[in-house]
Subunit: 353 residues, 2 copies
C-alpha cells in the first residue's frame, strides 16, 4: 500500500510491524516494555526497529496521552547575564524532571508574550514561566490574570518569576526575590561608610524590579533619618549603555554625590567606565555599588560590591514548585532572600559633598 522501507525515513509503527510480521499493537508493546511479549517476537521487532531506524512520533504519543511533558520559559532578553542564569536553572531542573523546555524571548513586546502563552496553551505545556519585572498596571494584572485562568482551566500553570503577583485568588505560582530588602541592605552599607549624597541609577520608573530596588534605597535612607535629594534619583533602563549615559549626564550636570548605587551590575559597569573616563577614581573619589552579582562583577576594577541574587536557584525553584504543586497547596508565593557581597568598590566618604 504505502512505500516499502528506508527510502524516505519517517517510518511509521505500521512499517515496523509489517517488516517484523506482527501487528502494530505488538510493536507498541515491545517498545512500551511492560506487556508480556515472547522473546522471539521481541527480537524480530527490535530488529525491524533497528533496520528502519524507527523512532515513535512524539506528537502522536502526546495525543494518545503518553508524551514527554513540556514546559515553557518566557523572558525579555536571554542575553542579560542574570536571566541567562535563570534560564540555566529552569532548563536544568526541567531536564531532571523529564520535561522538554521551550523558550521564547519577547523583547519586551506584550503582544509577543500574549501570543506565546496562547501557543503554549495549545501545546498543552505543563507550565509557563514568565520571567522578569514588568509594569504593574491594572492592564497588566488583568491581562496576566486572563492568561493564568486560561492556562489553569487547561490543566496548565502560570508561574511568575520576579514579577508582580496578581492578588488573591489567581491560579498562579509566584517566586520573587527580595528587591527592596536587598537594596535596603546595600544602601545601608554604603551609608554606613559615611556617604551622604548617594546617586541612584534606577530603571524604568514603572518597572516593578526597578521600583523595589528604589524603595529599598529610600527605606535605607529613612531608617537613618535621612531624606535623600530627589534629584539624585535617575531613571534609565537595565542596560550597560543606560548606566554609561546616565553617569555621564550626572557628571556633566555637576551633580554632587560621593557614592553611586546602580540598579543592576550591568548599569554599574557602564557607570564605572563613565567614571573612569571622567578621570575619577573608584572608590577613592566616588564609591560604586551594583545589584545582581553577575560573574563579571569580580573582574571589574575595582571589584564590584553588589547584592547576590540566587538566579539559578530561582529558576530551579520555579519549575519545581510549578510541577510539584500539591492539591492542598495550590497557590504558592515564595520570596527568596538576597545578601550583599562586599568587595572593593565602596569605600569611606572622605570629602564632603
Amino acid at each position: 500500500m504505502t512505500r516499502k522501507s528506508e527510502d524516505a525515513g519517517r517510518s511509521t509503527i505500521r512499517d515496523v510491524a509489517a517488516r517484523a510480521g506482527v501487528s502494530a499493537s505488538t510493536v507498541s508493546r515491545v517498545l512500551g516494555g511492560v506487556y508480556p511479549v515472547s522473546s522471539a517476537t521481541r527480537t524480530r521487532v527490535m530488529r525491524a526497529v533497528r533496520d528502519l531506524d524507527y523512532v515513535a512520533d512524539a506528537r502522536a504519543k502526546a495525543v494518545a496521552g503518553v508524551g514527554t511533558p513540556t514546559l515553557a520559559f518566557v523572558l525579555e532578553d536571554i542575553t542579560g547575564p542574570s536571566f541567562a542564569h535563570m534560564a540555566y536553572g529552569v532548563e536544568r531542573e526541567a531536564r531532571r524532571l523529564g520535561h522538554l523546555c521551550l523558550v521564547c524571548t519577547t523583547e519586551g513586546d506584550v503582544q509577543h508574550e500574549v501570543e506565546f502563552v496562547e501557543m503554549m496553551r495549545a501545546q498543552r505545556a505543563a507550565a509557563v514561566i514568565l520571567v522578569g519585572g514588568s509594569a504593574d498596571t491594572r492592564e497588566y494584572r488583568e491581562r496576566t490574570r486572563r492568561m493564568a485562568d486560561s492556562l489553569a482551566s487547561a490543566g496548565s500553570r502560570l508561574v511568575l518569576c520576579g514579577r508582580p503577583p496578581l492578588g488573591p485568588g489567581a491560579p498562579v505560582t509566584v517566586i520573587e526575590y527580595d528587591n527592596e530588602g536587598g537594596a535596603h541592605a546595600l544602601v545601608a552599607h554604603v551609608l554606613s561608610q559615611g556617604h551622604q549624597r548617594v546617586l541612584f541609577l534606577g530603571g524604568k520608573s514603572d518597572h516593578t524590579t526597578a521600583q523595589g530596588r528604589e524603595r529599598g534605597y529610600l527605606a535605607a535612607h529613612r531608617a537613618r533619618g535621612l531624606d535623600p535629594d530627589p534629584g539624585l534619583l535617575l531613571h534609565g533602563d537595565f542596560t550597560r549603555d543606560s548606566g554609561h549615559r546616565l553617569m555621564r549626564e550626572a557628571l556633566d550636570q555637576g551633580l554632587e554625590f560621593t557614592a553611586v548605587v546602580a540598579a543592576t551590575d550591568m548599569v554599574a559597569a557602564g557607570a564605572l567606565t563613565a567614571l573612569h573616563e571622567a578621570g575619577l577614581d573608584v572608590p577613592g573619589d566616588v564609591s560604586l555599588a551594583g545589584y545582581d552579582d553577575i560573574p563579571f562583577a569580580r573582574d571589574l576594577h575595582p571589584a564590584l560590591t553588589t547584592v547576590h541574587v540566587p538566579y539559578e536557584e530561582l529558576g530551579r525553584l520555579a519549575v519545581r514548585t510549578a510541577l510539584g504543586r500539591t492539591p492542598e497547596n495550590p497557590d504558592e508565593h515564595l520570596l527568596l532572600g538576597t545578601h550583599v557581597v562586599v568587595r572593593d568598590s565602596v569605600g569611606p566618604a572622605e570629602r564632603g559633598a
Copy 2:
C-alpha cells in the same frame, strides 16, 4: 457575562461543535479560515469557541500535518555570554520564521547530547542546531555523522555551529567563524607593538575552538619569523576562573612575558583580575587581549582589545540556512569572518623580557 465555562478546560473540537450545533468538520473549517462557511454558522461557532475558551491542540494538529514547526537548539552552557547571544539570534530568527524553539543544555555531557538529538528526531523537529566547539576525534565524527544521517532520513537537518565539520557527504549544514584568522590578526596586532614573549591562555587542547585560536597564535608568530616558546602555551578551559588560575600560576612560576592573549574574554577577565592582584598595570607592565568581544569587554579596565565575533548573526544564519535550504544546494558550509577591535589593553612593549 462573557464566559461561563470554568469547568474542566481542555475542551475538544467536538465540544465546540456540540455547543454550536454543528459538526466538528465545520468547526475546523471555521477556524481554518478558507473554506466557505455561512456567516450565521461562523458566528455561532466563534461564539462557542469563545465561551469554551477553546484552543486547538497543537500536538493533534501536528500529527495531522498542519502543526507549527519546531527547531531545537543544543548548547553546552547558556550562561556564557557568547552562547547566550547565539541563542538570542537563533530564537529571534526561529520566531520570525514561525518556528517554536526548544532548548537543551548538555553541560558537556555527550550522552545528553545524543539523547536530546534522538528526542528531537521523535519530535520531528525541522532542524537541530548543535553549538560550540568539541573534541574533534574519530569518535566524535562517527557519532555526529550518525546523528546527521538519522535526522536527514527523518526529513530533518543537523546544523553544526562553530563545530568541526564532518567531511564530505554528510547531510549537514556547517556555520563556522574563523577562529584561526581572528587569532592570527589579534596576535599580529600584539606582536606589532613590539612584544616578543606573548603568553597564550588557551582552552582544552582537544577542543576545536581552542585549537583554532591556538593555531592562529602560532601562525601569527611564524608570519613574523618568530618561533614562540612552547612554555608560553597554557591550557585550561573557557571560564573566568580558569583565566584567573592560569594567570596566577604563570606569575607564581615567574614566567617571563610582556603580553597575554586569552582564548576568550571570560578568560581575559579572570586573568586581568589576577594581574591586578599581583600589582601589575595593564597595559603599562603587561598587555592583555581577549577574544569574543562580549559586551563587558568595554567595561573592563582597561577596556579590552579583543576579536569581535558576530554571534547573534551566526545564530540567525544557522536557522536561516537550515530552514531555507534548497534542493540544489543541500550541504552548505559558511565561514564567517571576524575582526579585531582595538581598545586600551594592549600597549607597546617597553621593557625587555
